[in-house]
Amino acid sequence: MKIIVNGEDRQAPPGITVAAYVATLGFDPETVVVELDGQILGRFEYDERRLAEGAELELIRFVGGG
């Protein structure tokens, strides 16, 4: 199915959880802030929320160093 990730069209398996989708990108979900359809998700929601056709994801990923 088609979803939109940071403004770009992407494909994702239907019903995949946010955590699983983020992991397919090679990111540790704990290092990513997720906005799904305009709403910032709490960390506990990553494993619960599933992506639907046309879902709009904004991912803000952090790398270490400070």
């Binding site: 540790d28 704990e30 290092t31 990513v32 802030v33 910032i40 709490g42 960390r43 803000i60 990923r61 952090f62 790398v63 270490g64 160093g65 400070g66």
Partner: protein, 265 residues
């Protein structure tokens, strides 16, 4: 009307600093007008703020405070002196942000870190060899007091969590995320976006190594929320954290904090 060492003095056209000094402070050898050092022959304009200083003289606290503020761009310091900024993490980013904000005269800093100063910190962080083993919060408090004794410093030396960040930093104008670990960086932003919608926020990601200067950018995520860095360069073996590039990012953060405090962004 002039202001001379912060006291009113009648302006007369054609008056030069040297003459003013002769009347008020003959031993002065440093002359500052509107925040900038100038030669004694400088002709004064009405409403100038003048400082006559004798090099090395011991000053009272009050006069010192006025002098520190005289060096700040007029108008700016008055608008930031009552501001309180929270800094999460006192490493290569946080300690540098704190020093920059102390130097421009931000009124209050809330410094949070549970770590101790270690020798490996000294390649980029604003601590000294004789502070190894001290709590970072305490060491930085000491160092900031030597820069600006009028800064109000509060410290928090326990671990920050999603639960306590909104409580610890309640009421800060801007929250600066200077953590090292990416999980804490994400946790902090998530917490700020969901539970501290009023606060300005300046985070950082991607500043390790010695990649190109200009890849470090300040990106606006949404109103009053910014992330500094190149987004890619993570700290790892072979790509360490070093004073120059971490410092570039830290000063991006500090300048963004200033812009938020001034209401420009």
């Amino acid at each position: 009307m002039l202001k001379v060492n912060e006291r009113p003095y009648e302006f007369t056209p054609g008056l030069r600093l040297a003459e003013l000094a002769r009347r008020l402070k003959p031993d002065a050898d440093v002359f500052i007008v509107n925040g900038f050092p100038v030669p004694p022959a400088t002709e004064l304009q009405d409403h100038d703020h003048c400082w006559l200083i004798r090099r090395g003289e011991k000053m009272g606290l009050e006069e010192m405070e006025r002098l520190l503020y005289a060096r700040h761009t007029p108008g700016v310091q008055a608008r930031i002196k009552d501001s309180r900024v929270g800094i999460m993490g006192l490493g290569g980013l946080g300690s540098v942000v704190a020093v920059a904000l102390a130097r421009i005269g931000v009124g209050g800093l809330l410094l949070a870190d549970y770590d101790l100063v270690e020798p490996s910190n000294l390649n980029r962080q604003q601590f000294f060899v004789d502070q190894v083993g001290m709590k970072k919060t305490e060491a930085l408090r000491q160092n900031l007091a030597r820069i600006n004794p009028y800064l109000r410093v509060e410290t928090f030396d326990q671990e920050l969590t999603e639960e306590n960040i909104p409580l610890v930093f309640a009421g800060v104008k801007v929250l600066v995320e200077c953590f090292d670990g990416p999980r804490m960086k994400a946790l902090a932003l998530r917490t700020a976006l969901t539970r501290m919608p009023e606060a300005g926020y300046v985070g950082a990601s991607g500043l390790a190594g010695y990649g190109e200067n200009d890849l470090i950018r300040t990106r606006r995520l949404r109103p009053h929320v910014y992330i500094v860095g190149d987004g890619e360069a993570e700290a790892r073996p072979g790509q360490g954290l070093m004073a120059p590039r971490v410092g570039i990012a830290a000063h991006h953060q500090a300048n963004q904090v200033l812009r938020l405090l001034l209401g420009l962004d």
